[in-house]
């Protein structure tokens, strides 16, 4: 396979020196004595990738070329940055060069900022795999560790393509102590489901769209006419709306009543207004991002007030098996410790027709 490999050389520098992110703060990070993080993560990754299996395209110097050469992987440099202090624009230009060459996968080292840049070019057409090297890695396209990313690259033939959320963090708000994570898009990302009983069993989960459709068929089959359903966000929940014959809001929350979509892309205020009018309510949510957040990352519309009104017992969690294989546990942050504590420490996740998995829920 043809893999585009790009490193954001300054990713992660802000973390150790308390900057909570490096975007626009490289100089300050250096002044505070930060050393580059990403190159070492990239070295770790490249030392574990079996040479000769894939063909690499890369960007010059610190953006990948030097590291691939050092690790003994032959590569073709298709983009050379014209300055030593690279920026997000350089990442985007490198990815455009990979896309022009028809690469099968973009492998990158960086954080959520880098993920956003790579996704800006690749969209949902080129699969992405991130090696966590930034300050924040909420996006679902990140492997857990460089070793896990290398394993996935080495066994790419066995991997299943899953939908993975790309997240955007408001860095200014974050530095101010407030975590505001929004869902900006759905990328495609390879995942190894090798922990299923045998590779043949995994074929059940090989077709992500089919798996989503099975889940959607089950949810629509059990929907009651007297219940308001708040559904979103992500591609798995959007598939539920699709099963009702309508288009879902991929990155937002829609409301369904009696089989019809009665409101789309609701914000907190819209949700609270609907909750005033309906007594029976269920929310259908799907884990988001690299850690698998059921609530609290990417769906800020489900504010503490909204979650409190819906009630923990009325959340239905859905996810495909391939997606669950990326996260051994799920996370929850209802935005208020008291409300979070009302959720159980495990959660039933609908993963097929009349089929569920029990997953640990950490909050």
């Amino acid at each position: 396979m043809l893999i585009g490999f790009v490193v954001n050389p300054v990713a992660g520098m802000g973390g150790a020196v308390g900057l909570k992110g490096t975007d626009g703060a490289v100089e300050e990070a250096r002044r505070r004595g930060a050393v580059p993080v990403a190159p070492n993560r990239a070295r770790m990754l490249l030392s574990l990738i079996t040479p000769g299996v894939h063909t690499f395209l890369t960007a010059g110097g610190p953006m990948g070329g030097a590291l691939l050469a050092e690790a003994g992987h032959p590569a073709e440099v298709v983009f050379v940055p014209d300055r030593t202090e690279t920026t997000g624009e350089d990442t985007r230009r490198a990815c455009r060069a990979f896309a022009d060459r028809g690469c099968d996968l973009i492998l990158f080292c960086g954080g959520d900022g880098t993920a956003r840049d790579v996704f800006g070019v690749a969209g949902d057409t080129i699969p992405l795999l991130g090696v966590p090297s930034g300050v924040k890695m909420y996006s679902g396209i990140f492997a857990a560790t460089p070793a896990a990313a290398a394993d996935c690259v080495n066994r790419l033939e066995e991997a299943v393509m899953t939908d993975a959320e790309v997240m955007d963090i408001d860095e200014a708000a974050y530095r101010g102590g407030r975590l505001a994570v929004t869902l900006t898009g759905i990328a495609r990302s390879p995942a190894l489901t090798g922990h299923l009983p045998s590779s043949k069993w995994a074929t059940d989960a090989r077709h992500e769209a089919q798996a989503q459709a099975e889940i959607a068929r089950f949810i629509t089959d059990i929907m009651r006419r007297d219940t308001l359903y708040l559904i979103g966000a992500g591609s798995t929940t959007a598939a539920v709306i699709q099963a009702l014959g309508e288009e879902g809001t991929l990155l937002g929350i829609d409301a369904v009543f009696d089989g019809d979509v009665i409101a789309r892309d609701l914000n907190e205020e819209g949700l609270l207004r609907l909750l005033d009018r309906h007594h029976r309510v269920q929310a259908v949510v799907s884990p988001i991002g690299a850690q698998g957040f059921v609530l609290g990352r990417g769906t800020q519309q489900f504010s503490p007030a909204v979650v409190d009104r819906i009630g923990p017992e009325n959340f239905i969690v859905i996810a495909t098996e391939a997606k669950l294989s990326r996260t051994p546990a799920l996370y929850l942050d209802a935005g208020n410790p008291e409300i979070s504590s009302r959720f159980s420490d495990s959660v039933q996740v609908i993963c097929g027709y009349a089929m569920a998995r029990r997953m640990p829920l950490i909050h």
Binding site: H195, T203, L324, M355
Partner: protein, 453 residues
């Protein structure tokens, strides 16, 4: 301190016990899937041997075991009853734990108890070939073994998930001369239709039954054979309980307090429990408790509906009243393949509905933890199906530890797990998902998922 109780070959029961003679209410009739009329012997004649049809509806309390069948059963029967002293010690329980071990049969489980009888009756009717399905492979290998002893041919449709996962099971069938194919297969209309719909499906028992029934109906001189669920299968398995009662007497424990077994289609549990349930219904063991154990992924008795449903996925089998999760339900790919069945033996179902049998379900990781504790104390590496029973035994024994009660527990250890070691490997690797059936959501939806069309 005795560890095992062994009966003499001459003590092998001469008659099976038929619980249909003692039911608190009679079994409801089954219906023809096409005509929707009550099933009569003529409906079953195209695919079952005449004596098997007679046994299926018989209400005689005892039915003679043919001497040819007994001769073969003596290859491994009577099976031993063990006192699990090392497990008791591990659990620090005052409970006395006994288990019947059916893994001593050549195919390694309780299944040949009925396979031999079914092959024999088909041979007597001049049948030359039998088609069947198998989940985990226990039944397929048992019927392969039994048919070979009567010089018959055997075709086994094996659920694809297990076929891929347990290559040694299909090699065993080959050793006994059977033809084993992954189901859904291209050999039948039902299989082709399922492959068309989902070429990558891991299959299910319901699908495989459809294929085997179609094979029997469309091949000359071929009958069908089912390894569980049906009344005659429960009848043939009663040797387990009949022997166990004698062996418990040898141990000085005539009246057990709890009788436990795993339930997929229900026959191994029926085999152990029915003779004891007879005693309970006759007032001789009024306090004895019966518990059938199931996987949370496929909790037919625990969460299913007591309703009329097909025994297979395509709707070829009679419509029976039983606990069911719906014949279209494809259970998740748990390792206890033998428990991946949407329905339950009508006899076990009726007794559960009448309150004589309780049920409980478990996630697969806790079941494997119990299996590992068992093999590290008693030595036997059990089949994942049997491990479900062990989990219940350990829970009941732990309760005895808390209360100080010296209960006598007996369970059926239905088979060994020598062909399930990859499942143990997955467990040790922390790679077993805890599947479960979302029963509450389904119940709240007010929809009865099992529908008869």
């Amino acid at each position: 301190m005795e560890t095992k109780y062994i009966l003499d070959e001459n003590d092998l029961p001469r008659q099976w016990y038929n619980i249909q003679a003692d039911l608190p209410v009679p079994l409801s009739p089954s219906y023809n899937p096409q005509t929707k009329e009550p099933i009569g012997p003529d409906d079953l004649a195209p695919i079952f041997a005449s004596e098997i049809i007679r046994q299926e509806v018989s209400t005689e309390r005892y039915i003679d075991i043919p001497s040819e069948v007994r001769d073969i059963l003596t290859l491994w029967r009577p099976s031993p009853l063990y006192r699990a002293r090392r497990l008791e010690k591990l659990l620090k329980t005052p409970a006395k734990i006994f288990y019947k071990y059916e893994g001593v049969s050549p195919p390694g489980s309780h299944k040949p108890n009925t396979a031999v009888a079914q092959a024999y009756y088909n041979m007597k009717d001049g049948i030359e070939r039998i088609a069947t399905e198998t989940g985990a492979g226990q039944w397929g290998s048992s019927l392969a073994f039994a048919t070979k002893l009567f010089d018959m041919e055997c075709k086994v449709y094996m659920v694809r998930g297990s076929y891929d996962q347990k290559p040694y099971r299909k090699m065993m069938m080959q050793c006994w001369g059977a033809d084993c194919i992954a189901s859904p297969s291209p050999d039948t209309n039902a299989g082709r239709a399922m492959l068309e719909k989902d070429p990558d499906t891991s299959g299910s028992l319901g699908m495989a039954i459809s294929e085997a029934v179609e094979d029997a109906a469309s091949h000359a001189n071929t009958n069908y054979s089912l390894g569980s669920v049906l009344n005659h299968v429960c009848l043939h398995q009663s040797v387990i309980g009949l022997e166990a009662m004698e062996q418990l007497k040898m141990a000085g424990e005539e009246t057990p307090d709890v009788v436990i077994g795993c339930a997929g289609g229900g026959s191994n549990y029926a085999g152990l429990a029915f003779p004891f349930i007879r005693e309970k219904m006759a007032g001789r063991m009024p306090d004895c408790r019966f518990i059938a154990t199931e996987p949370s992924a496929c909790p037919t008795l625990t969460k299913g509906l007591y309703a009329y449903d097909f025994g297979d996925m395509s709707g070829y089998t009679p419509i029976m009243q039983m606990y069911t999760l719906g014949h279209g339900f494809v259970p998740p790919a748990i390792h206890a393949g033998g428990l991946r069945y949407h329905g339950m033996a009508p006899l076990v179902s009726l007794l559960h509905h009448e309150g004589l049998i309780d049920s409980i379900s478990y996630h697969q990781n806790e079941v494997f933890a119990a299996a590992v504790a068992f093999c590290r104390s008693e030595g036997i590496i059990v089949a994942p199906e049997s491990a479900h029973a062990i989990k219940t035994v350990m829970d009941v024994a732990a309760e005895c530890t808390r209360t100080g009660e010296e209960k006598t527990i007996v369970f059926n250890c239905s088979g060994h797990g020598h062909f399930d070691l990859s499942s143990y490997e997955a467990y040790f690797a922390g790679a077993l998902p805890d599947y479960e059936y979302p029963a509450e959501l389904i119940a709240a939806s007010l929809k009865n998922l099992p529908k008869i069309h």
